[in-house]
Point group: C2
Chain length 112, copies 2
DNA sequence: ATTGATACATAGCGTTACTAGGCATAGCAT
DNA sequence: ATGCTATGCCTAGTAACGCTATGTATCAAT
């Protein structure tokens, strides 16, 4: 269950550059070490929603293989949204860490 | 949004010892640094569910104040469930970490 | 007496990821 | 030729699940 974090996950997958839906699924799976293997029924509606919100922009392309693909890339608004969502995640993760014993606090993660 | 993590959160709040519903709410709020301020409509049904699942055991008590309280404590099963859920959380958090930039890969955790 | 904190409980709601289904093309093997 | 698999996109409906709203009750303070 990724409730509430899906947008962030999809946006994060596009940080490296534009990609198409099917490729995003694979990229998320790869970067997450196989933990997140999202079904198409999750990704496509999400991409549409994010584009409608102005976080993504898309255009149709034709791959060398001849297949049609819809390629998405992040907008400035999307980058800001990701940044915000990321901060939110940080607070969330810290809060969970706080619940897991006051003593064994999670070590500070090396940020960018 | 705590979707999927609520059970773990409630169980974690009971690690320090038994507590009653209302107190658990405050304990979670305290330990999370105020991030998780769960409404009663979230906690009580959850406690009932966890007890039904055998993760918690409860009994009625009367506080010095004269108030009736239902005190919950974790069972052996609950401890195991928490442990499992915690491992799940670790994988989840690591996966999110993996999505946040490959370059800045999380360094091997500075040991436990 | 009225407000606020404490304390428990539940029915119904709304958000949101997911299931299940559909359509279509390319490449490979039988 | 004919499946079969992977690629590639899409949507309607479902279901899980935390939360809102509401009710009840006791105690302390104003």
């Amino acid at each position: 269950m990724l409730k509430g974090h899906l947008d962030m996950i999809v946006l994060a997958a596009l940080v490296g550059g534009p990609a198409h839906g099917y490729g995003i699924i694979q990229e998320i799976k790869r970067r997450s070490g196989g933990a997140f293997d999202l079904p198409e029924g999750t990704i496509y509606p999400t991409l549409h929603r994010l584009e409608k919100a102005g976080y993504l922009a898309s255009h149709w392309t034709t791959a060398e293989s001849g297949r049609k693909r819809r390629v998405y890339k992040m907008t400035r608004r999307g980058e800001r949204a990701l940044s915000d969502h990321r901060a939110l995640w940080q607070r969330f993760a810290d809060a969970i860490g706080g619940l897991f014993g006051e003593k064994a606090r999670a070590p500070a993660r090396s940020h960018s």
